[in-house]
């Protein structure tokens, strides 16, 4: 990694406070999938403009931009196991295809589960919503199994 990682006991609580701030200020459940969904609903003419979640989405993108401006570069090079496994022009096409399909699974799955790592994993669990706990257990277990499967075949 290019830069030091923020300690978990500082970064984690700040994310938790963001969940609290969203409820305290706006009475909203913080969730990145809801933010993406509002953007898609706007593009596909299902809603007239961007609201709270759309503004949160813009904030997320700006957060990435501010980080790069302050730190000078992203925390990492390449793209994990994908750039370690696939090389050259053909490899890049494979990586783009894999990321595109993964993105579809992430978007569709998170909408079906009514939340992702932030909406269910943080906000839902913090409200002791049983549906979020089931979803969180399922996505962590699935992701751990799939990560070991990828390690076994690469």
């Amino acid at each position: 990694m290019d830069h030091p990682q923020l300690a978990w006991y500082i970064g984690g609580p700040i994310l938790g406070l963001c969940v609290v701030a969203m409820r305290w200020l706006l009475n909203e459940r913080l969730g990145a999938t809801g933010a993406w969904s509002e953007v898609v609903e706007r593009i596909s003419d299902r809603r007239p403009g961007l609201g709270t979640r759309g503004a949160f989405f813009v904030g997320l993108v700006l957060g990435g931009l501010v980080y790069v401006l302050v730190a000078g570069s992203p925390l990492f090079h390449g793209y994990g196991w994908l750039t370690d496994t696939f090389h050259g022009a053909g490899g890049n096409v494979a990586i783009v295809a894999i990321l595109l399909v993964s993105g579809v699974l992430i978007g569709y799955g998170a909408k079906l589960a009514q939340g992702c790592t932030s909406g269910n994993g943080l906000s839902g669990n913090a409200m002791l919503s049983a549906a979020s706990t089931v979803a969180t257990g399922t996505f962590f277990a699935t992701a751990i199994v799939v990560s070991f499967l990828i390690k076994a075949v690469t």
């Binding site: 990694m1 990682q5 923020l6 006991y9 970064g11 984690g12 994310l15 938790g16 406070l17 963001c18 969940v19 609290v20 305290w24 200020l25 706006l26 913080l30 990145a32 999938t33 933010a35 993406w36 953007v39 609903e41 403009g49 709270t52 949160f56 989405f57 904030g59 700006l62 957060g63 990435g64 501010v66 790069v68 730190a71 196991w81 894999i98 990321l99 595109l100 399909v101 993964s102 993105g103 579809v104 699974l105 992430i106 978007g107 569709y108 799955g109 909408k111 992702c116 943080l122 906000s123 002791l128 049983a130 549906a131 089931v134 979803a135 996505f139 699935t142 992701a143 799939v146 990560s147």
Partner: protein, 155 residues
């Protein structure tokens, strides 16, 4: 929907996104090391975030009554688990493990100018769109069992 509401949501997103980058949550290397149980950072980070949110929301519900900007009674919606939460989370989990990134960090990758974030973001939007389309069709064409209720009683 006023300016203050939007600005507040944007500010929370900015902090959330910045911390996701600084903590390495937008880095596929960090995510993968966590999911392969080689590094405890992901789980410690997640547990610290969740416990802070839990305590914070508890305190809010105890001392706060209405939201500061939108002036609404503070809600704490909970839901019973259904099949969709398992199926959806399993589908999500596969994508999450392959791309080693989840929706918040994908948005921050775009802000960081990481080109590999573009196909993941386009896929995510396509997945959300497919879900919205399916949901819309389900509303337009009610399930047969709903129509059966309207049939006249044979007796």
């Amino acid at each position: 929907m006023n300016l203050a509401t939007r600005l507040a949501a944007l500010a929370v997103g900015l902090v959330f996104g910045g911390v996701l980058c600084w903590s390495g949550m937008s880095s596929p290397e960090v995510l993968r090391a966590g999911l392969l149980l080689e590094n405890s950072y992901l789980f410690l980070f997640f547990a610290a975030a969740l416990s802070t949110a839990f305590v914070g929301l508890r305190l809010l519900n105890r001392f706060g009554t209405r939201s500061v900007i939108t002036d609404e009674p503070l809600a704490c919606p909970t839901q019973r688990p259904e099949r969709r939460h398992v199926t959806g989370a399993a589908i999500f989990g596969v994508g999450w493990a392959v791309a080693d990134v989840c929706p918040g960090p994908i948005a921050t990758q775009l802000g960081q100018g990481i080109a590999y974030g573009i196909p993941t973001a386009l896929g995510l939007m396509l997945g959300v769109w497919l879900y919205l389309r399916r949901e819309q069709r389900a509303v337009a064409a009610p399930a047969p069992s709903v129509r059966a209720v309207t049939l006249p009683d044979p007796a």
